[in-house]
């Protein structure tokens, strides 16, 4: 696991409120199927912006962007 992915997983574990343990998810697991709500996804977005000191542009604020660890990373 590299630093980026570790940070993403930590944030999902902390803010995603998933039924499953974030560490056990595959890169491509569907986070919404794993229980990510739209409300929790907002908190995940905010935490990611803070952690990586960036702002997601509007065009990336889509369900698809946050649907798995791999898509968040991209």
């Amino acid at each position: 696991l590299d630093q980026t992915e570790l940070a993403i997983r930590t944030i999902i574990g902390q803010f995603g409120r998933l039924a499953a343990d974030a560490a056990s998810l595959d890169d491509s697991s569907d986070l919404y199927e794993a229980g990510l709500t739209s409300h929790a996804s907002v908190n995940v977005m905010l935490a990611l912006e803070d952690e990586f000191d960036l702002e997601f542009p509007e065009r990336m604020l889509r369900r698809a962007t946050f649907s798995s660890i791999a898509t968040i990373r991209d």
Binding site: G35, H39, V42, F56, P57, L61, R62, R63
Partner: protein, 378 residues
């Protein structure tokens, strides 16, 4: 279509409105007349035998009906939301293509079972789950509200995809008799919207798995159910306000005739109310244009901006119509306050109070508030 709906409103739904309201009864005659005029299948595409109207047309139909009987308009609107979900998301499935033809032929009425005990009013999460066994399924749901549930042919219900699915991994399943049993639960004796008969029900259903719409409910909700709901509801609320203003106009005309040569003082207030009514109409029309312009762009429809604009529509119109109706009451004075005068706007006011409560504006504003934390565009 608009002409047909106006006729149903003027000849059937309008004359029955007071009795529907007084007795809190289902607006049977209005819905039967809409069915007979083929209007329950208005949104079904022509290839299945329907009229193929657009959401913009639905908006006009709901506004028109709202001028005559808000309960009839609300039942019609909620039914059309269900039809839209099937047309937009079910048409890839042979079962739903056949169903749309049944819907046209039989004039079937569909209700919605999205709320449930134990989820705190959150439509996007379910306790109940579809239990499948081969090509059969079973579903049991403690639905806190199924509007006009005692009068429906079919119900679209949300449920978790399966017993192991998380609460927000939902599907939308069409349940129908004879595989559907609804046990009513509770009463519906309310301030307004008394004819929607929105009781709770214990829903038990069995059927074939192809009755499950083959798209996740989250997509159906974002792309169709939520925006179409806010559009058709806002349209019928606008209709309620329009009729209240029409009554105020009649009142002012009557006063003007009594004092030829002078404009009655209430006319100025009418002019003000007219400004507000125009603003609400413009809000509804711009949301309809926005929806239709992005209809086939799933990314745009699922964007935060669209969700925020559709939330704004509901909050804005639900507040605005109350102000307009209160203005009409003030113009008509005691004759507006009396229930048995032709200028009465009491029913309008009571019906319109439902707008900010169903779904509660606080819930909608909380959703928008969360989105605004990350939303960047103006």
């Amino acid at each position: 279509l608009a002409e047909r709906v106006r006729r149903v409103g003027a000849e059937v739904a309008g004359p029955a409105a007071d009795s529907v309201d007084r007795d809190a009864r289902f607006p049977r005659e209005g819905i039967d007349a809409l069915r007979a005029a083929g209007l329950l299948a208005a949104y079904v595409p022509p290839e299945y035998g329907g009229s193929g109207c657009t959401v913009s047309d639905l908006s006009v139909l709901c506004r028109t009906l709202g001028e005559f009987c808000a309960s009839t308009a609300m039942v019609f609107a909620m039914h059309q939301i269900q039809v839209a979900c099937i047309v937009r998301h079910g048409a890839t499935s042979p079962f739903f293509r056949d169903y749309l033809q049944d819907l046209v032929r039989d004039g079937r009425l569909i209700a919605s079972a999205t709320t449930e005990a134990g989820v705190g009013g959150d439509l996007r999460s379910s306790v109940c789950a579809v239990e499948t066994d081969g090509d059969q399924f079973r579903l049991e749901k403690n639905a806190t509200v199924i509007s006009y549930g005692e009068h429906v042919d079919d119900v679209l219900a949300t449920a978790r995809r399966g017993p192991d699915a998380s609460p927000n991994d939902q599907v939308l399943v069409l349940v129908r008799r004879p595989g559907l049993d609804l046990k009513p639960n509770g009463t519906w004796d309310t301030l307004g919207m008394r004819g929607t008969c929105s009781l709770g029900f214990l829903l038990t259903a069995t059927g074939r798995v192809d009755q499950i719409i083959p798209v996740p409910f989250s997509d159906i909700s974002n792309l169709t159910m939520l925006p179409v709901s806010h559009i058709v509801w806002s349209s019928l609320w606008l209709g309620i306000a329009t009729d209240a203003v029409n009554r105020a106009r009649s009142y002012v005309r009557l006063s003007a005739r009594k004092t030829p040569g002078t404009v009655p003082p209430a006319a100025v207030r009418l002019a003000e109310v007219y400004v507000a009514l125009g603003e609400i109409a413009a809000t509804v029309e711009s949301a309809v244009r926005d929806y239709e312009a992005n209809l086939d762009d799933a990314d745009a429809m699922a964007s935060l901006g669209m969700a925020i604009r559709m939330n704004n529509l509901k909050v804005s119109v639900s507040r605005g119509v109350l102000d307009v109706i209160a203005g009409a009451l003030s113009i008509c004075g005691i004759l507006g306050y009396k229930n048995d005068s032709p200028f009465s706007v009491g029913r309008h006011l009571r019906d319109a109070h439902s707008a900010s409560l169903m779904v509660h504006n606080d819930r909608i504003l909380a959703h928008t508030a969360a989105l605004l934390c990350v939303y960047k565009d103006a």
